[in-house]
């Protein structure tokens, strides 16, 4: 081990190793690798990345490992009956954030339209196709106010993403196969 280099492994390098571990865990979860094996593989990867970063730097270390998605695909331990709670939750949060961002962008352009109409204007509308989302814009020569009621659109996206990725109905299949075994 290169002791001098190890002492130089900074916060950014350690963060990049941690983030690589998170991404690797995500891909392993999508490939239905059980939790215990996933944790062991993640720890092993982080240990090897740390050693490689001490020698050649974090860039070279990550480059040597290559695509984490492909690396996760090499492992053959699978449990097709497990529910992907972790990656399902991550995708749900991402989908909700995307939903909120989309609505905000649409609302921005709506507000721009109201302002472009000139003078004092006030408008309220339901934003289509963002089901349940309402926007109200008030503009005058002195002020501009707007309010958005998001509605269930981001939540709906989050639920769809969670169901599609996590597949919680596998729990029912697992329970029924456990009962039939006994």
């Amino acid at each position: 081990m290169n002791k001098a280099r190890a002492e130089q492994l900074g916060h950014q390098e350690r963060w990049r190793i941690w983030w690589a571990g998170c991404r690797y865990d995500f891909w392993l979860d999508l490939r239905d690798v059980p939790g215990k094996e996933r944790r062991a593989l993640r720890h092993e990867l982080k240990a090897n990345l740390t050693a490689a970063a001490e020698d050649d730097g974090i860039g070279q270390a990550l480059s040597g490992v290559g695509s984490l998605r492909d690396l996760a695909g090499e492992y053959e331990v699978r449990d097709a009956s497990r529910v992907r709670w972790g990656s399902g939750l991550a995708c749900a949060v991402l989908a909700a954030a995307c939903g909120i961002a989309i609505v905000l962008i649409a609302a921005f352009f709506y507000g721009q339209g109201v302002v472009a109409s000139g003078g004092d204007a006030s408008a309220a509308s339901t934003l289509w196709p963002f089901w349940g989302t309402e926007i109200e814009v008030n503009t005058s020569s002195e002020s501009f106010t707007s309010s958005i009621q998001f509605g269930p659109f981001p939540l709906l996206l989050a639920v769809v993403a969670f169901l599609g990725v996590a597949r919680p109905w596998r729990l029912l299949k697992r329970q029924s196969s456990d009962r039939s075994m006994h």
């Binding site: 092993e44 490689a52 040597g64 492992y75």
Partner: protein
């Protein structure tokens, strides 16, 4: 040294290379990659070696243990099992037979061409 080797060929001989490296002493993943690079197999990357180690362990050719590291997470050290040693001997004999046959075929066809 291994720039001319077909990547598929390298992948095929990787198990025998790993068993050979670990015959000498136990090692962890990245150190094994470095040893392979020192032997001249510089195009073998970590992303190819790490899954191969896991497959060999699943076949019980290798065993492993965790050892604390001063610089990061605990390292997983691999070592050759008795079953792995037997497999290495078998693979070495197969390799010797294969290379002898290929050399013979190449010489035979070279002899026909020169005639």
């Amino acid at each position: 040294m291994d720039e001319v080797l077909d990547p598929q060929l390298l992948k095929g001989i990787l198990p025998i290379l790993l068993l050979t490296v670990l015959r000498e002493s136990e090692e962890y993943g990245y150190a094994i990659v470095k040893k392979l690079h020192d032997l001249g197999f510089t195009s073998l990357k970590e992303g190819t070696v790490y899954p191969a180690l896991t497959r060999l362990e699943a076949k019980r050719f290798l065993s492993s243990r965790l050892a604390k590291s001063t610089s990061g997470p605990a390292r997983k050290y691999y070592s050759l099992t008795d079953v792995g040693l037997g497999e290495l001997q078998k693979a070495s004999e197969s390799w010797a037979m294969l290379t002898a046959k290929v050399d013979h075929a190449l010489r035979a066809t070279a002899g026909e061409e020169s005639a």
